[in-house]
Symmetry: C2
Subunit: 518 residues, 2 copies
C-alpha cells in the first residue's frame, strides 16, 4: 500500500485489499470509460417451471449458491438495528467452516457487533459499507484484517454497476415474498418500508437468496425486488425485532439551540427565494431536520405554497405533509418510522425510489441534482466548507455516509449543525476526514450564525438585508474556538495504517481513515 | 445463406442479414452461455444537472444520438393502429438522408404501411419484429431488402439482453413524461396503458429518446420507463389517433360457433379440475376469448371460486372480473381498451408487467410458466399438435407472434380455434409455418370437438366421463377435411428465398417463411 496525495490534498492509498484504487481527481473530473458489469445469461430451464424456488433453509441456499472461502456476500440495512438475519447468516457461514468473506452490507448497525467475533476469527475478512458504532470503533482500533471501504448509497450502486465490486451471493431480507422470489418491504410482521438498497445486488449478484418471515402465494405485489433475478427463497421465523426496525431518532428536538437552527433553516429557505410553488426538498431524519420541516410547513401554509416533491427518509412528519396536500409526492429512499411504512403501502403518491434512480452518479443523470434544497447534518465542517460525516474529531469512524454525498448535488445544500458538541468545535480549520468537497456545500446553518459559501454569490445576494445572522465561516469558527478554548486536540493516529478509505460518488478515493492510537 | 433442417425437421437458414443463426434444437435443449449485453457506463457529468433533457425536436434528438446509415432503431407498438410517431420518425430519418436502417419494433400494424416507401427506397433495410397485415404481405412478396426476423415478446427481450440485437437508438412514445425522461403510458391524451415493451430498449440501447405529447413537471409517476436510462426528451403535438390506440377487437363474439367454443373452454377448465381457489389464467383479446371469460365467470360465481391472478392484455371484461372480486390481481402486459387503461391507472391490484418479468426465457424463471391455464388462438394446428400463428395456409405472413410462444409454457395451454375458416381447414396434416412445437400444446378446442395431447394423460383422465366432445386430433382433422373437401392447396412458395425467420423463445430458429409466388 502506497499513499499519495489526491486532488483534494488528502493522503490516500493506491490499493487496498489487493484491489487498485483511483485517487479523487476533483468534483466532476473523473469520467468513466468502459461497460457495465456483465451478469451471466441464465435460462428458465435451470429454474423450477412452477416458480417455487423455496429451499429448506439458509444453509441449503448457501450451498446451492456455491459458497466458498473468500466470496463477497451482500446484505441490506433496511431492518436497521432490528436486523436479526445478518447475524443468523454469519452464524450459518461460520458453521459451514467458511473463511475470509468480504461482507458488503448497505450499512451496519450496533446490532451487528455480534459479528466482531467473526471479524476476529477470520470468518469475515473485512467490511465494505458503512459502519455505525461498534464495528466502526473496532475498525478504527486497527483490528479488522482487511481495510474498510465506505461508499455513499449511490456510490455503492455505481461500484456494483461498474463491476468494481462483484457480489457472489446477495442475501435479501424480505418482509414479504412469494415462492418465485418477488419481494417487498412495505408489509408483513417485519415491514421496513422499502428494500430498494438491494436493487443492485438483485440485478448483478451471481446468486440471489431472498429470506422472508412472511411467505405469500405468488404474486407478491409490489415487487420491489423482482423474482426474475432471484435464485432461491428461504423462510425463517423472524427477520428481526420489529420495534427496532424503525429508527429511534425520529422525535422532534427539544433542545433550544437545535430548534433555533431549525427556525433559521426554514427562514433561510424562504428568504433565499427557494420556497415557491413546485419547489422540492430533501430532509432526513434527526431531531433538527424534523423540526425544520414543521417550521417550513408553517411558512408554506402562510404563503400558500405547495411542493412538487419531498425526499425522505420518510417520517410521520413527511407523511403529514403529503396528506395535508403540501406536497404532490414523497420520493422515498427509506422509511424511518411506521407511519412512513403505512403511507408507502397505501398512498400511490408516496413513491419508493432506489439508489439507481436517486443517486447513481454513473447513470444518465439522477434525482439528487434535481432537488432545490437538501438539508443535511455533518460531524465537522471546515473554513473551506469541506465537511466530514464519518469520523469524530478524535479520529473514530462511527458513522456511515448514507446518501449524504449524493445529496450534495442538490441545487442548494445546507448543513444544519450545532457549532459545537460536548465542548468540541464542529466548525474547524480542517476536517478530520474529508467526505464533501467544499465547493458542493452551499450554506452552513448553526445556532450562532449562518455562513454562505462565497462561490454562491446568488445566495449571498438573495439574503442581503434579511434578519438572518449571516457571517463568514471564518467568523463562525473564531467564535466557536473562543467558546471551546481553541481547536480540538488532533486525533492520535498511526499514519502508516489506513483502516478505511472513503470513496467519492464516482468511485475515486477522497480520503483515508487511519488507525487511532491511545 | 444455406438452409439446414433443425430439430423440428424444418428448413432454416444458418444466417440472415449477415448474422449467424442457431437452428432450433428442441424444447428446453439449448442452454445459453456467456454474459448479458454490456451497456456503456455513463456519468451525470454528461447530462444536465437540472434534469432537463428536452431538446428542440426529433431531428435534433436523432442528431445528438449520432444517427448514421445502417443503425438499428427501435420503437414500441403500444399505440397500435393509432401510432403516428413511427411514421413521423421515419419521415424525419428519410429527410436526414439516412439509409439502411434496421427497424426493430415490438410489432407493426397496418398504419405502418406508410413505411413501405422507405422499405422500397432503402431508408429501411429490413424489419425485425411482428408484421401485422400490409408489411407482412410486402415481405411475403419478397420485396423487402433484408430478411424479416420474428420474435415473441419474451424472445425480443432475450435477444436484447443476450446481446444478439444491439439497439443504437430507442425511440419511445410516452403518453406522459417529465423533462428527465421518466415516462408512463397510463395517462395523457394518448394513454395506452403501459409501455413495458420498451423496457429492454431503455435498459440496453446506446441512446434513448422519449417522445411525448404530454410533458409534465418532474416526477412523472409511475415511471414505467426510468429517466435514468433516457438521453433526451422530445415533445410533439400528438403521438397518435387515440381512438385507434385501443384495439377494435374487444367485442364479445356473436358467432354461434365461437360462442360454443367459448363454452367448451369454460367447461373444460372447470371439469379438468383447473377451476379451483387460487387458480390463474391468461386470456387475450379476441371475441372468443372474451366470451370464454364471461362463461368462466359464471362458473366461478357458482362454485365460489376466486382466482389469484389473471393475465391480460386487459379489457373491460378482465377489469370487471377484478372489480367484482373474482381475482386478486390482473398482471397485465398490455391494455386493449380504455377500461384497461383506467383500471391500471387507478387500481393498485391491476399491475403492469414487462416482457422481462412475464416472458424472458433467459432469466431466473418467468411468470408465463406459473399460469395454470392459457387460452390462445392460432392460424393452423396440425395432427402432431404443432401450431402456427404467423402465416395463413396461402403462405402469407400476416400476424405477429406476440406473447403467444411464451404463454405455451403455462401448465395447460389451450388453443381455442374454429375448425375451419372461409372453408379452409384450420386443423391440418402439417402446419405451413411452425411456431409452437406440439409437445407444448395441451388442448385444442373447436366447435366440433376437443382434442387433448396424448402426452397429457392427466388431462385425458381428468375429463373422462365428461359431457365434453373429446376426440382425437386425427378424428377432428378428418371431419374438417370432409367438410372442406380435403387439405387446402399448398402455398406456392419459392423455396430458394427465405423472407423471414421465426425465432423460438431461446433465440434459435424454429422455422422459415418463404416468398409467395403467384
Amino acid at each position: 500500500m502506497k499513499l499519495q496525495k489526491n486532488a483534494a490534498g488528502r493522503l490516500v492509498p493506491n490499493e487496498v485489499n489487493g484491489e487498485k484504487l483511483m485517487p479523487f481527481m476533483g468534483v466532476n473530473k473523473y469520467k468513466p470509460k468502459g461497460v457495465k458489469a456483465k451478469p451471466s445469461v441464465r435460462s428458465c430451464i435451470d429454474y423450477p417451471m412452477d416458480g417455487n424456488k423455496v429451499v429448506k433453509n439458509l444453509k441449503e441456499a448457501l450451498k446451492k449458491a456455491g459458497l466458498k472461502d473468500g466470496m463477497t456476500i451482500s446484505t441490506h440495512h433496511h431492518l436497521r438495528n432490528g436486523d436479526a438475519l445478518t447475524n443468523i447468516l454469519f452464524d450459518t457461514i461460520k458453521g459451514m467452516g467458511i473463511k475470509n468473506i468480504r461482507w458488503f452490507p448497505t450499512a451496519s448497525f450496533p446490532v451487528h457487533s455480534h459479528l466482531i467475533k467473526y471479524l476476529e476469527d477470520g470468518t469475515i475478512h473485512h467490511i465494505e459499507g458503512s459502519m455505525n458504532g461498534p464495528l466502526g470503533k473496532f475498525t478504527s482500533d486497527g483490528k479488522m484484517k482487511g481495510v474498510g471501504v465506505l461508499r455513499s448509497h449511490g456510490g455503492r450502486y455505481q461500484s456494483i454497476q461498474d463491476g468494481e465490486v462483484h457480489i457472489d451471493i446477495a442475501v435479501i431480507a424480505a418482509p414479504t415474498a412469494d415462492p418465485f422470489g418477488n419481494a417487498t418491504g412495505d408489509r408483513g410482521p417485519s415491514a421496513c418500508g422499502l428494500i430498494g438498497f438491494s436493487l443492485a445486488d438483485s440485478e448483478y449478484a451471481d446468486n440471489v437468496i431472498v429470506v422472508t418471515d412472511n411467505l405469500i402465494p405468488f404474486p407478491c405485489v409490489p415487487w420491489q425486488i423482482q423474482g426474475n433475478n432471484v435464485d432461491t427463497v428461504v423462510t425463517i421465523d423472524s427477520l428481526g425485532d420489529s420495534s427496532k426496525i424503525v429508527s429511534g431518532t425520529t422525535q422532534v428536538t427539544k433542545s433550544p439551540d437545535r430548534l433555533l437552527i431549525a427556525e433559521y433553516v426554514a427562514q433561510f429557505i424562504d428568504e433565499a427565494g427557494i420556497l415557491k410553488d413546485g419547489f422540492s426538498l430533501q430532509a432526513g431524519a434527526g431531531g433538527t431536520n424534523l423540526a425544520f420541516l414543521l417550521f417550513l410547513k408553517d411558512r408554506m401554509k402562510q404563503k400558500g405554497v405547495k411542493a412538487r416533491f419531498m425526499r425522505g427518509g420518510s417520517t410521520q412528519y413527511l407523511v403529514q405533509t403529503l396528506e395535508e396536500g403540501l406536497t404532490d409526492y414523497i420520493l422515498d429512499g427509506q422509511t424511518f418510522d411506521l407511519e412512513g411504512v403505512r403511507s408507502m403501502r397505501e398512498n400511490p403518491n408516496h413513491v419508493n425510489t432506489s439508489p439507481f434512480t436517486s443517486y447513481n452518479f454513473h447513470g444518465k443523470g439522477n434525482f439528487a441534482s434535481l432537488v432545490d434544497v437538501a438539508v443535511l447534518g455533518a460531524t465537522e465542517v471546515d473554513v473551506n466548507f469541506n465537511a466530514n460525516v464519518v469520523t469524530h474529531s478524535d479520529g473514530y469512524l462511527l458513522h456511515g455516509i448514507g446518501g449524504w454525498q449524493n445529496c450534495l448535488y442538490s441545487k442548494c445544500t445546507v448543513l444544519a449543525i450545532p457549532s459545537f458538541r460536548d465542548r468540541i468545535p464542529v466548525i474547524l480549520d480542517e476536517v478530520t476526514t474529508l467526505c464533501a468537497p467544499g465547493e458542493l456545500v452551499d450554506v452552513i446553518i448553526t445556532e450562532r450564525g449562518i455562513a454562505i459559501n462565497p462561490l454562491r454569490k446568488d445566495l449571498l445576494k438573495a439574503v442581503k438585508g434579511s434578519s438572518l445572522p449571516i457571517k463568514t465561516i471564518q467568523q463562525l469558527k473564531d467564535e466557536v474556538y473562543e467558546i471551546c478554548g481553541g481547536a480540538p486536540a488532533k486525533p492520535k493516529v498511526n499514519k502508516d495504517k489506513v483502516v478505511a478509505v472513503i470513496k467519492w460518488v464516482d468511485g475515486t478515493v477522497i480520503d483515508s481513515v487511519f488507525q487511532v492510537v491511545k
